[in-house]
């Protein structure tokens, strides 16, 4: 079974530029998550989708971050304009809906460096 796919794996941009990350979850997983992991910290949830609807985006900086999950399958996370503090690894995860306590399956992440 294919895992969670993310691209690109690495991206270097200058501040004020834009960047987009793509995620394809495990087939059949209705729930999709985007996490931000800053060096030395644990992952922080940015947004959670259930199919193509947003469940939680309370920690998404909406003035510069946006995410969509058209057709309830793959998803894109965009940052525009990027700031230095956005340098982090962006993790995508998916889970099969089964209520709280279900296992999350993570991709390898997209490492963003903002110069």
């Amino acid at each position: 079974e294919a895992g969670v796919a993310q691209s690109p794996r690495y991206k270097i941009i200058e501040k004020r530029q834009s960047v987009a990350f793509w995620c394809n979850p495990i087939s059949g997983h209705a729930t999709l998550y985007w996490y931000q992991q800053i060096l030395g910290q644990g992952p922080k949830l940015l947004i959670q989708f259930q199919n193509n609807g947003v469940v939680d985006d309370s920690q998404l900086p909406k003035d510069r971050f946006s995410a969509e999950r058209l057709k309830g399958v793959d998803s894109t996370l965009k940052i525009q304009p990027a700031k230095l503090e956005d340098s982090a690894v962006y993790l995508c995860a998916s889970s099969f809906p089964g209520g709280p306590g279900g296992e999350l399956f993570f991709g390898e992440g997209s490492r963003l460096t903002v110069l």
Binding site: G3, V4, Y35, G40, Q41, G42, P43, K44, L45, D56, L91, A93, G99, P100, G101, G102, E103, L104, F105, F106, G107, E108, G109
Partner: protein, 113 residues
């Protein structure tokens, strides 16, 4: 509100020695508890979880963790570590109401030969 604290950022240990990675949490509601592991150049993966029932949970590779409600802890232990256990370990607390997960800051386990 929930929070989780991993008490050690790095734990160096020699191969075949025992290890304990400490985790404390706080929550005003019932919780689920998890340990996720990230091996070098790989994605995060579930190591073990406590949802209900027996407070001692085990993984397939010899790790165990015990849910201690009175001390609000979920420490991870292994009696004898291998080089291959070198990784970053994350303690995670989840709300049983909303399912929202809060990750600790991680503990790097460095197993030396």
């Amino acid at each position: 509100a929930q929070s989780v604290t991993q008490l050690d950022s790095q734990v160096p240990v020699f191969e075949e020695a025992p290890v304990e990675l400490r985790c404390n949490y706080s929550s005003s509601v019932s919780v689920y508890l998890f340990w996720y592991v990230q091996y070098p150049n790989q994605g995060l993966q579930l190591l073990l979880k406590y949802l209900s029932g027996s407070t001692l949970v085990e993984s397939i590779n010899g790790f165990e963790a015990e849910f201690n409600k009175s001390q609000t802890s979920f420490h991870l232990r292994k009696p004898s570590v291998h080089i291959s256990d070198t990784a970053e370990y994350f303690c995670v607390v989840g709300s049983s109401n909303t399912g929202k997960l809060i990750f600790g800051q991680g503990t790097t386990l460095q197993v030396k030969p």
